[in-house]
Symmetry: C2
Subunit: 449 residues, 2 copies
């Protein structure tokens, strides 16, 4: 069953009963920072529901985990929330006891400023690591953000800009669809451009094996916040988010570095009035909601890769025919994170030698003489094979160059050993990435970030 969704404007305030705001309180210290948050000087956002909402969350599995992630994961377990406070410019990571106190202060101050009861606020942070939060600025920002709250697209636009760090573009989406006879809406915003290869779980704790193995991590925090006026039971919402993240945010990589702060939250306030989606729902309702959430997460995740630091080309790496899902994932991640493959993408070089080399050293079981490698346009089934059963095809160099020339293309790797597959949304490695990240050593405030 393929579900079509209508994209609408309004982002996170498109669903009924959600308000947003984004303000500047100088957490970013824009005089010295490297953020390219051009002109839009905002660094604190609020996302508020008129009524308490059911909540689900996914968090970084990095063992070095920021204070806001710990506080947020703890609160998400309770299942209900009404506001998310998010800041950019400071990750509040590696900040010790003071960092934990500051993260708790952010949520309780936000609850007080909104007149909400304790436990209703969640928190997310992104920015420099190892710098104590400027709490006077944060508190002033929260008060201003409460005063600025509103229901318009402009309010959502302010919020999405306020969570950006090295992002060059705001990333948002909203959909409208029918669920149990009612019109429901789902909206989302996200940020992330570097330190990007999320591997999130529902608790932030490491599963014995992450879905797909995840041999290495990511870096440049990604944050995602999703709102919906659909009514969804809490456990179903958490399972649905896990499923959606597994196929979206946990499948992207910009630079292979997993951040200390990766967080995705979804708030469902039920104001659309549908019969709650839950274990007693019709399978159709469950399916439609899952599809909508998948769509929102995948589109947002792809926007992160497209806006990755210094990224010129976006490549969807599709591995199929693996013996196990873990093998497919391992091969896809090895290719997606290989410095040599990524630089060849940058150069528009259809270099299958580097690709098969990365497949060969991955943790996946592979047989050189069975490997096929090919290219297609995004979502096209017309594949130009450069390698079949480990040997070059008759595709010409000119044809192959044309296949890898577009800003976006798909790389198909068929291992011909089994039935498992995996996908990674990856990016090239450019001089701009290196230049951007080699740091500004005139600025001591960048020490941890």
């Amino acid at each position: 069953m393929k579900t079509q969704f209508k994209e609408i404007s309004g982002s996170i305030v498109a669903p009924t009963g959600f308000l947003a705001s984004g303000v500047f309180c100088d957490i970013k210290k824009l005089g010295t920072g490297k953020g390219s948050n051009k002109g839009e000087k905002r660094d604190l956002a609020l996302i508020v529901s008129e009524t308490p909402a059911t909540v689900a969350g996914m968090f970084t599995t990095n063992q070095v985990c920021a204070a806001p992630v710990k506080v947020c994961a703890e609160r998400v377990k309770k299942g209900t929330a009404q506001v998310v406070v998010v800041n950019s410019g400071n990750a509040n990571a590696c900040t010790g006891k003071q960092g934990m106190a500051d993260a708790r202060d952010m949520v309780s101050f936000t609850e007080q400023a909104l007149g909400f009861s304790a436990g209703r606020a969640l928190v997310g942070s992104t920015g420099r690591i190892g710098v104590i939060m400027p709490m006077d600025n944060v508190r002033a920002g929260i008060i201003e953000a409460v005063l600025e709250l509103g229901y318009t697209t402009a309010h959502a636009d302010h919020a999405v800009v306020a969570i950006m760090t090295s992002d060059t573009k705001p990333k948002q989406i909203a959909l409208e669809f029918k669920l149990g006879g009612r019109t429901v809406r789902i909206g989302g915003i996200c940020k992330g451009a570097g330190m990007i290869q999320p591997g999130m779980s529902g608790t932030g704790a490491r599963p014995a094996a992450l879905p797909g193995g995840h041999p290495q991590g990511l870096h440049a925090t990604m944050l995602g916040f999703i709102t919906t006026d659909a009514a969804v039971e809490r456990k179903v919402l958490q399972v649905a988010l896990q499923e959606a993240v597994a196929h979206s945010f946990n499948r992207i990589t910009v630079d292979g570095d997993m951040s200390t702060n990766d967080t995705v939250l979804v708030l469902a306030n039920g104001l659309a009035g549908n019969k709650p989606v839950g274990r007693a729902s019709s399978r159709a309702d469950l399916h439609i909601f899952q599809a909508a959430l998948n769509h929102v997460c995948l589109e947002l995740a792809k926007k992160i890769v497209r806006d990755g630091e210094g990224v010129h080309r976006v490549v969807t790496v599709r591995v199929s025919g693996a013996k196990t899902v873990q093998d497919a994932d391992a091969a896809a991640r090895a290719v997606a994170n290989s410095a040599l493959v990524k630089t060849s993408w940058h150069g528009g070089d259809p270099n299958w030698g580097r690709i098969i080399d990365a497949i060969g050293y991955s943790a996946a079981t592979v047989v050189e003489e069975k490997i096929d490698i090919g290219y297609s346009a995004p979502s096209s089934k017309k594949i130009l094979w450069s390698l079949k059963r480990g040997q070059p095809t008759k595709a010409t160099f000119k044809q192959l160059c044309a296949a890898v020339a577009p800003k976006e293309f798909e790389l198909h790797i068929q291992l011909n050993l089994g039935k498992s597959s995996a996908v990674m949304y990856a990016a090239d490695l450019t001089e701009e990435y290196v230049d951007f990240n080699k740091g500004d050593v005139t600025d001591a405030s960048s020490l941890g970030g």
Copy 2:
């Protein structure tokens, strides 16, 4: 017991009874290639022993493994060899049955040209992947190389240049030391600059777990050839080489990509006349030989990192206090291969946030509040700590910048959880690396390389 060795000239021909040569037979197609083998146009080398030598080898564990590696690993098992033929410009990898036939032809043609009995030749190749070997050129080169064989340093210089690809400098060493009352010598040459993170085993087959886990592979072939006139029993020689490689070539990374062709060979011809080093030897003899081999391998390995593609800074990453050796290795490799850590090294930025982030997402068990991070000069015990127990120290930004400013420095990571340690010899990531590797899409011959 610390052993001192006298460095001498002569490289691989310093040991008694070894000859070498290096010639140009246009395997490199220098008109179109990107190799920076400036002025010295050589691409085929021979290393010959006057008498049959005991041999040991270590080979890439990449499942996509080049024909010469397969042929060489098979022959090394027999334990005796007298000549190594090596070419640059073509890796003879992913070349199917023709590639295997060509690798076998290279060894048998070399044996015939030298009048050696069958089975005496070993082979190594490096260069483009997926291109059939130009065997007419190779055969002409072998004949010329046989005619050019000689015992002088100039002959060794020709050989070392002939194995280079993107290397900018020849890499060689020789030592002289006493063993069982006799003067013995050991010499070595190597090549490698990109596609460098070797993970070699004695058979090329993957152990259940490689020493130190090895979560990901390497790329830009490394080749190493070591000669000695010491007499060493075959099994002892293999064990000694495994030990030496485990602490040298298998501990380096330039770009995290493991090659299809990584190979290290050692030939011991016994012409020094010492009582063979073996299981019946004195522990002192075994120890001295091991120490000499370790020294040769480590110095050669470090030369590869220093001459890595686009490398400006070389960083020794020392992880200690891990629960297990696997943990120490995983943490060291995560840091050594992190794009964000490597770009910060390039920028001279003492960014501990990126380092602790990489430690946190590694497969190692770590506790943020126990991690210490510091810097020292090479081999110095005077460490400037930037982080203690997860919190910034009072070291000033200026002091930390000074610690990471030199072309070589050591990064110390103390996990404070156990007694295991690991080291990685790593490099920064620069714009030059990206520029060099983004490929030359005007050149179809680079397709696989």
